[in-house]
């Protein structure tokens, strides 16, 4: 059976294409579309600070924990939310307040900020306490597609992506299973 090299081998061009797809994906997701038209950019809007971004990244990793993925994949997954927070004060407040809640929760349970808690189970417990809230939904819905729609991530899961330009899988292992 034709197996694939699970190490990513993508050109810069592939990465850029993935970036564009990621932006489209966020638009598709709907969450941002709903918030978009109503939320006029506030003049005093500033993005998340570095500590907040660090917490958001850790939160996203805990939602979709794949040990095989470096932090850079999660950094790109949260980038659209960071961008939205930089343009829209309401989003920034939603994210900042949510992160503060996670931090307060972890400070009470572990004496540390969320991103500094080494025990995954304690961070997961903190997330459980906010599950069902608006902040949780915003991050869950806003990071999932940008995370999994990164072409350089796909080979790490054994997915080869676009095939038409390579002639499909007709001569590339669509029917070569050998273990049944």
């Amino acid at each position: 059976m034709r197996l694939i090299d699970w190490a990513a081998k993508l050109s810069r061009r592939g990465f850029l294409a993935g970036g564009a797809a990621t932006i489209a994906a966020v638009a598709v997701n709907g969450t941002n579309l709903i918030a978009g038209p109503n939320a006029a950019p506030a003049v005093d809007a500033v993005g998340l600070n570095a500590e907040e971004s660090r917490a958001l990244l850790k939160f996203t990793r805990d939602l979709f924990p794949h040990d095989r993925l470096e932090d850079s994949f999660y950094a790109r997954a949260i980038a659209p939310l960071e961008g939205e927070a930089a343009k829209d004060a309401a989003t920034r407040k939603l994210l900042a307040d949510g992160i503060a809640e996670l931090n307060a929760s972890c400070m009470a349970s572990a004496g540390k900020w969320f991103a500094d808690v080494p025990e995954e189970r304690l961070r997961v417990a903190a997330i459980r306490r906010i599950e069902g809230g608006v902040f949780f939904a915003k991050v869950y819905g806003g990071t999932m597609t940008p995370l999994y729609n990164q072409p350089e991530l796909w080979p790490k899961f054994g997915y080869e992506g676009p095939s038409s330009a390579l002639g499909g899988y007709l001569n590339r292992g669509f029917s070569d299973i050998d273990w049944l």
Partner: protein
């Protein structure tokens, strides 16, 4: 070349929608010398614009106009604002369909007679039977190039299919094969054969899959008697004092309101938009909505009993390689009430690429367990349960009381409650799919409850008697003689099969009737 008709030309047949029903009807009528104007809400895309990009194509041509949903069905919780996954472009849902082209079974046309009176259901026999539709199924299969019919070879089995078939065999099933597909297994009809890209749902880049976008619509235009107006959203159908329809009002691509006169109007906007249009066309003369003296417009919404089972194996499957839905087990499609339900279901391959799989898996869930399934992506196999759901009076499309679309027209609400029969069938299907995969060594299986509905049926159903349904045996309104329904909303039952082949067969049959009635000046 495409025709151009004047807005005041009242000799034309206006077809609302360009998918399996509307596109086929347009092509057939134009070939018979009838002038046709197709009004399609979506834009026109070319084959070259299709990309092997799941998220991107989902964004490019999904029907995202606002909808709401209600009822006990899972989709009202998991995807309340997108209860159905249909397409908004020329070619409609034939652009993304999986191309399973199955005939309904004989008993599925006669559910009231064969299943009896079932509490909580609104069963009715179709006014036609399989024998009557069979010649049109033949023509539809030849037209669409359906594999496994009329000597057209079947597609080869993919790895994903071989896993399904191995499990089916182990379980004692005998009716498993690569499905009857409207996808070229050999070059045919001027189109290439399947290259096993795995991106059927994103629009077939090779044009090997049948779609009205690049087959029937261009054929219609080539007659010089058909005009397709894309980005034209029909807002209401108008009628005169005698109760005959006179034309439609639509918003063009610039948002301007236009009025196209018509001799005949055929509605083919899918089973949510078609009843919505009729309900939104209410007038003093037809206060319940056009063609709705029965009160059945919008009712009996059916969307198949569905669920998906993904199985995790130790070894690679690479389910994304090859024709998406090209494998089926048909042993459970029979009618056998000893299983605890009426009707039957098929098991059809359901692969997904990583972006779709990972973002659709177990909505709302997170953490290690969910991620571990994605970690095993290369070793997954997936099968879709698709079975007959029962018509229910209360499962219906209604107009939202407050919310309106950008044209000021009330949006549709999709209400559905699972019937106990639906749930019994779903449970049976999940159990059988589990057993199938576990029989060949699956480590675990993951159940996925229904995705947004891709099969939408029944909301303008056919009936012998005007009081039981909306249209007659030809899809002609019982109330308004020059008004037709040409999509899956005319289905009286849902069957356990994918609806497209039946929609095409009905459109072929309907085109003959419309041409005949026009030549006799009956309409």
């Amino acid at each position: 070349m495409p025709a151009h008709f004047d807005l005041n030309d009242s000799s034309v047949v206006v077809i609302v929608g360009s998918g399996a029903g509307g596109g086929t009807l347009a092509s057939e009528l134009a070939k018979k010398g009838i002038s046709v104007v197709v009004l399609e809400a979506g834009k026109r895309m070319e084959l070259t614009e299709f990309k092997n990009d799941e998220i991107g194509m989902f964004g490019a041509f999904t029907w995202f106009d606002p909808r709401t949903s209600s009822g006990s069905w899972y989709v009202a919780k998991s995807s309340p604002d997108l209860p159905a996954w249909t397409c908004k472009l020329v070619g409609g849902t034939t652009v993304h369909w999986g191309a399973c082209a199955l005939r309904f079974q004989e008993h599925e046309f006669k559910t009231r007679t064969r299943y009896g009176a079932i509490a909580g259901a609104n069963l009715l026999d179709w006014p036609i039977d399989l024998a009557e539709l069979a010649p049109y199924y033949d023509r539809a299969e030849l037209r669409m190039g359906v594999t496994g019919t009329h000597g057209i070879p079947r597609l080869p089995a993919s790895n994903h299919g071989k896993v399904l078939f191995a499990g089916a065999k182990k379980l004692g099933y005998t009716q498993y094969m690569t499905t009857n597909m409207a996808i070229n297994s050999v070059p045919r009809d001027g189109r290439a054969s399947c290259q096993q890209t795995g991106f059927c749902v994103q629009g077939c880049t090779f044009g090997a899959k049948w779609s009205t976008l690049y087959i029937d619509i261009p054929q219609a235009e080539a007659t010089g008697r058909a005009e397709v107006r894309a980005e034209s959203q029909v807002l209401r159908i108008e009628h005169d004092a005698s109760g005959k329809v006179t034309g439609v009002v639509y918003a063009d691509r610039d948002g301007n309101t236009q009025r196209q006169k018509a001799r005949v109007v055929a509605v083919a906007g899918n089973a949510i938009e078609s009843p919505r249009l009729l309900l939104n066309s209410a007038s003093n003369q037809f206060p319940q909505g056009l063609a709705n003296s029965s009160g059945q417009v919008g009712r009996n919404y059916m969307r198949h009993v569905t669920s998906t089972v993904f199985a995790v194996f130790d070894k690679p499957v690479h389910m994304y390689r090859g024709t998406a839905q090209s494998g089926i087990v048909m042993d459970e499609a029979r009618l056998d009430t000893r299983r605890g339900f009426v009707g039957g279901y098929n098991l059809e391959l359901l692969p997904q690429g990583l972006p779709s799989f990972a973002t659709n898996l177990l909505p709302g869930e997170w953490g290690r367990d969910r991620a571990s399934v994605i970690d095993n992506y290369a070793n997954l196999a997936g099968v879709w349960i698709i079975g007959e759901d029962l018509a229910r009076d209360s499962n219906r499309i209604t107009l939202h009381a407050e919310r309106k679309d950008k044209y000021g027209i009330p949006i549709p609400n999709v209400h559905s409650d699972d019937h106990p029969n639906d749930l019994a069938m779903q449970q049976h299907g999940l159990q059988q799919a589990d057993a199938l995969y576990k029989s060949i060594g699956a480590n675990r299986t993951v159940h996925h409850l229904p995705f947004p509905s891709t099969h939408n049926m029944g909301t303008n159903r056919m009936s012998e008697k005007p009081q039981d349904g909306v249209v007659n045996r030809f899809g002609q309104s019982h109330d308004v003689k020059n008004l037709f329904v040409s999509d899956g909303s005319q289905f009286t039952s849902s069957g356990g099969e994918n609806p497209t082949l039946t929609i095409v067969a009905l459109a072929l049959r309907q085109s003959e009737y419309i041409a005949d009635q026009m030549s006799k000046r009956a309409i």
